[in-house]
């Protein structure tokens, strides 16, 4: 459950790319320990940029960002010890798994983090074996990462982040390109990791999974503002909002049915009917 | 290794283009001949890869960086002529995108990185791994070594091109007009940086990529083996004629207008070629004897035929040094190949 400790706190954050283009405008938000939060928005709304800001890969000059109680800035991250300590606590699963996996085989990939920390060999082996067992990646131990399918790569990417046991997990579109069963696996894993105490922040525009992987949703508009914030059910019921920010188009309808939310287009007969009427 | 505009005198630049333009034509012809459609996208990838490779900085203990070029391994995978085109394209994009590498110096930049490196690499590779299987370790080892040697030879050529500038082109007061460092500084500087930093990177990249292809797609390597040696040798014989003809003709071409229009040549012509005599006459110490023979007045404003002759002497100097280097390498490698083949023959007949 959500604790009182604030994991991320942003005040009046604006972010521009080096070329001058605006990516985020006037962002104020706070995320507590143990929450699972969804960042919702269309492509280009700034949610990926926000994740990178939270991970100390990008830095803003306007506004303040605190992570785990400390200021997260170019200055603080320039401090080597701090930077390492930070990255041990916050893990990032990138949208592009190809970019994330660069070692010669899956085992080495998952071992990468522990090896950097200088753990003894048997400790490293133990942790990697454990992680591989947890995610069911035994068949791929010796496989080079670029010879895995999209879903397998995604799981390996998650595995290599988990081998360091971060307290916070940032994920950028984790379900994009996954087949239904792998998606189901991923969702279940996110839920269990959250139950184990991890704070999880997922950026996505896939509304089907939001309720399952998040308790709270933050909605970003196409003009880079944070326009809404609240429990998932409330946000997903607000169809006008969803249409306005291009999370849902006018043809598709969201109907809440009890504890479920159905997303569908009108069936053919109904459309024909409305055509005849006009 | 990129030379920006302003480091090389116009005369040198012309020589660079004089060498490369026929080389590019041959390359285009060769690639079209051996073309199967699959090669074009691969060449594009090769060019883009070479470009990106030149942006990767590898840390060297002590904190500085160096970069690889990649044209050696492209020569092994795609053939030297295709590699020439790929690298020339990568260099063109860098010249245009970054101003990294000049436009006037583009000829010599391509000579160094798109001609010397691929050909030195392929000669060494063929000489030592030419008879091996497509997947033999010898291939990636010699691709790597060949690339290392190639990039260093290119660095030496580069140093020579730069180092000749202050020796030939400076004002009467001794101010160098182009690159200010003479050959005894520029060549060691370039060579050291490449022997120790960029060279090993080139070596590793070539080894890695060749091995990658051997593992995933050895047919590409096999294709190159099939189309080898004989055509390359024949092309080179022709190349010699072309290059030598150019070396002779280019200065003659410049002499012709002066000769044709005589002393009353339009001021444009004087203006266009006047800068070279000025530089040459500064070398008066060396060329004094010649000048006296031809009775040349010590004036930078004269566009008389003898001035043009001095200018053409400059061309010759630059060109001959460059050709000498290529000739030296060709000779050495040809002897190496011939010696190995003789040994193989001897072994066969003994067996």
């Amino acid at each position: 459950m959500s604790g009182d400790e604030i994991v991320f706190e942003l005040k009046d954050v604006n972010f521009n790319y080096p070329s001058g283009e605006r990516a985020l405008e006037g962002i104020n938000l706070a995320i507590n320990r143990g929450e699972k939060v969804a960042l919702l928005g269309a492509n280009g709304s700034g949610k990926s940029t926000l994740l990178k800001l939270l991970n100390g890969l990008l830095f803003t000059r306007e506004g303040t960002l605190k992570a785990l109680g400390q200021a997260l800035s170019e200055v603080s991250m320039a401090n080597e010890e701090f930077s390492h300590a930070f990255r041990r606590r916050v893990g990032f699963v990138f949208q592009n798994s190809d970019a994330q996996l660069f070692n010669s085989n899956v085992f080495e990939e998952i071992a990468f983090g522990p090896v950097q920390l200088g753990w003894p060999a048997d400790e490293v082996n133990r942790v990697v074996d454990e992680t591989i067992a947890m995610l069911g990646l035994e068949h791929f131990r010796q496989r080079p990462p670029f010879r895995l399918s999209g879903g397998e790569k995604r799981l390996v990417a998650l595995a290599c982040v988990l081998s360091l046991n971060p307290d916070v997990l940032l994920m950028d579109e984790p379900t994009s390109g996954l087949d239904p069963r792998t998606q189901r696996k991923l969702i279940r894993l996110i839920q269990q990791l959250n139950q184990a105490g991890k704070t999880i922040i997922v950026a996505t525009h896939n509304l089907e999974i939001v309720e399952e992987i998040a308790d709270r949703a933050l909605v970003f508009s196409e003009d880079h503002h944070l326009v809404a914030e609240g429990p998932c059910e409330e946000i997903l019921n607000n169809i006008d909002l969803l249409v306005q920010v291009n999370l849902v188009d006018e043809e598709f309808h969201l109907h809440p049915h009890g504890s479920q939310i159905l997303i569908h287009a009108h069936d053919r007969e109904q459309s024909l009917l409305s055509l005849k009427k006009a | 290794m990129h030379i920006p505009d302003g480091y090389l005198s116009p005369a040198t630049c012309v020589v660079g283009y004089a060498i490369m333009i026929p080389m590019w034509s041959i390359a285009v012809k060769k690639v079209k001949e051996s073309l199967n459609t699959k090669l074009i996208p691969l060449m594009v990838i090769g060019a883009a890869f070479s470009f990106v490779l030149m942006m990767f900085n590898v840390p060297i203990p002590g904190g500085t960086t160096a970069h690889a070029v990649g044209s050696g391994v492209l020569a092994v995978i795609l053939g030297p002529w295709a590699a020439c085109i790929c690298t020339s394209i990568a260099l063109a994009i860098q010249a245009l995108l970054f101003g990294d590498g000049g436009i006037t110096c583009f000829g010599f930049n391509c000579f160094n990185m798109a001609l010397v490196i691929p050909f030195v690499t392929i000669w060494i590779y063929n000489a030592f791994a030419g008879k091996s299987e497509a997947t033999s370790p010898k291939r990636w080892i010699w691709a790597a070594i060949g690339s290392y040697v190639g990039i260093n030879v290119a660095a030496a050529c580069n140093g020579t091109e730069l180092g000749l500038q202050p020796l030939i082109w400076h004002t009467a007061q001794g101010v160098p007009l182009y690159c200010p460092y003479p050959i005894w500084i520029s060549v060691p500087a370039m060579l050291t940086a490449h022997l120790l930093m960029a060279g090993p990177v080139e070596l590793v990249v070539a080894g890695l990529v060749t091995r990658y292809f051997q593992v995933t797609n050895p047919s590409i390597i096999a294709d190159q083996i099939a189309s080898r040696v004989a055509p390359v040798k024949a092309a080179f014989n022709k190349m010699w004629y072309v290059v030598i003809a150019l070396i002779v003709l280019v200065p003659l071409g410049l002499l012709a207008p002066g000769g044709a229009f005589g002393e009353g040549a339009a001021s444009d012509l004087k203006a266009a070629f006047g800068f070279v005599p000025a530089g040459f006459l500064a070398m008066s110490g060396h060329w004094h004897a010649l000048l006296q023979d031809y009775g040349v007045p010590n004036s930078p404003f004269s566009a008389d035929a003898p001035d043009l002759l001095h200018m053409s002497i400059g061309y010759y100097v630059a060109a001959v040094v460059g050709i000498a280097i290529i000739a030296g390498i060709t000779y050495l490698v040809t002897r190496l190949i011939a010696a190995r083949e003789a040994r193989e023959e001897a072994k066969k007949s003994a067996a």
């Binding site: 785990l68 970019a99 454990e130 | 505009d5 060449m43 203990p61 995108l97 200010p180």
Partner: protein, 305 residues
């Protein structure tokens, strides 16, 4: 329902994040430096072609004419010997940039930040009399009786000419590429009789570079986010080696797909010629203007020498 066996160690927390202490600065690793290089003005400015679509002077010229006249100007710049004419060329190109609605700050930064400053550093030793003797301009110190360490007049003159010349050439190229869309630049090249094969490959390469740069940048970024401890130089080199291999694998796989796409659209290996846009009066006026300016500059250069 799928269920995972979450191991005990994942139930533990890392503990609070200690504040930054001490002065141990993370030396910007090569990876971070590379990210800076990739994600900088190269990816955004150039590929966005933002200046090239504005309605300025250079943008309105025929691409072939632009290429040829730019080439002419570069040759002229390389032929100049007096710092006066070189300064004039630099100012002239700056004026053209202004008339072409190029933001001058960005223009100057693009031109000067890399090559000319680099050249200045290279040429620095030549300022001193220990490198090449000459008339002293500034005496720095006296030693051993008669000996002096001075900055020579010739040294300064040579350095100034050199740097100005390099800057002039770079600024001409930067102006050309900032004000011309890539596709049209290539048409300009075809006017200068560059073989179609080259142009086709140039065209595709430009796009591929973007893809590869993005992939490489992503790789370095994700590597950075996994930097939890100091890695040896050897480790970093291994990473670069692996990245290069992975990058090549990506490029190669892409090549297969592109080849298939090309074939399915009728490509049979013959490069087709590009169509030529029309040359207008403005282009002729421009050409004459540039030729005139070139003659004036060369002539003036000769006089000033």
């Amino acid at each position: 329902m799928v269920d995972f066996q979450i191991p005990d160690r994942l139930l533990q927390s890392q503990g609070p994040l200690p504040p930054p202490t001490g002065n141990k600065k993370a030396g910007r690793s090569f990876a971070e430096k590379s990210i800076g290089a990739f994600s900088g003005f190269i990816m955004d400015d150039f590929y966005a072609e933002r200046t090239a679509v504005k309605n300025g002077l250079m943008q309105g010229l025929h691409p072939g004419i632009k290429v040829v006249t730019s080439l002419l100007l570069i040759v002229v710049a390389v032929s100049m010997h007096s710092w006066v004419s070189l300064l004039l060329i630099n100012l002239y190109v700056l004026l053209l940039a202004y008339l072409s609605k190029v933001p001058l700050g960005i223009f100057l930064k693009r031109v000067w930040v890399f090559i000319p400053i680099f050249t200045l550093i290279i040429v620095l030793p030549t300022l001193f009399n220990v490198f090449r003797p000459g008339d002293p301009l500034v005496v720095l110190l006296q030693y051993g009786g008669h000996h002096q360490l001075t900055i020579t007049r010739q040294g300064v003159e040579g350095a100034v000419i050199f740097v100005l010349r390099v800057a002039a050439c770079v600024s001409i190229v930067v102006l050309l590429t900032l004000t011309t869309r890539w596709a049209y630049l290539l048409r300009g090249f075809s006017m200068v009789r560059i073989p179609t094969l080259f142009i086709n490959i140039l065209e595709m390469t430009y796009r591929y570079i973007y893809v590869l740069l993005k992939s490489a940048s992503d790789m370095f970024e994700s590597r950075l986010s996994r930097t939890v401890g100091r890695t040896s130089t050897r480790e970093q080199q291994k990473f670069v080696g692996n990245s290069m291999g992975a990058l090549w694998a990506i490029a190669f796989a892409l090549s297969d797909e592109v080849h298939a796409a090309m074939l399915s659209r009728g490509y049979d290996g013959t490069p087709r010629t590009l169509t030529n846009p029309r040359i207008r009066d403005l282009d002729w006026v421009w050409t004459v203007l540039i030729i005139l300016i070139s003659i004036i500059l060369i002539g003036g250069d000769r006089l000033v020498r």
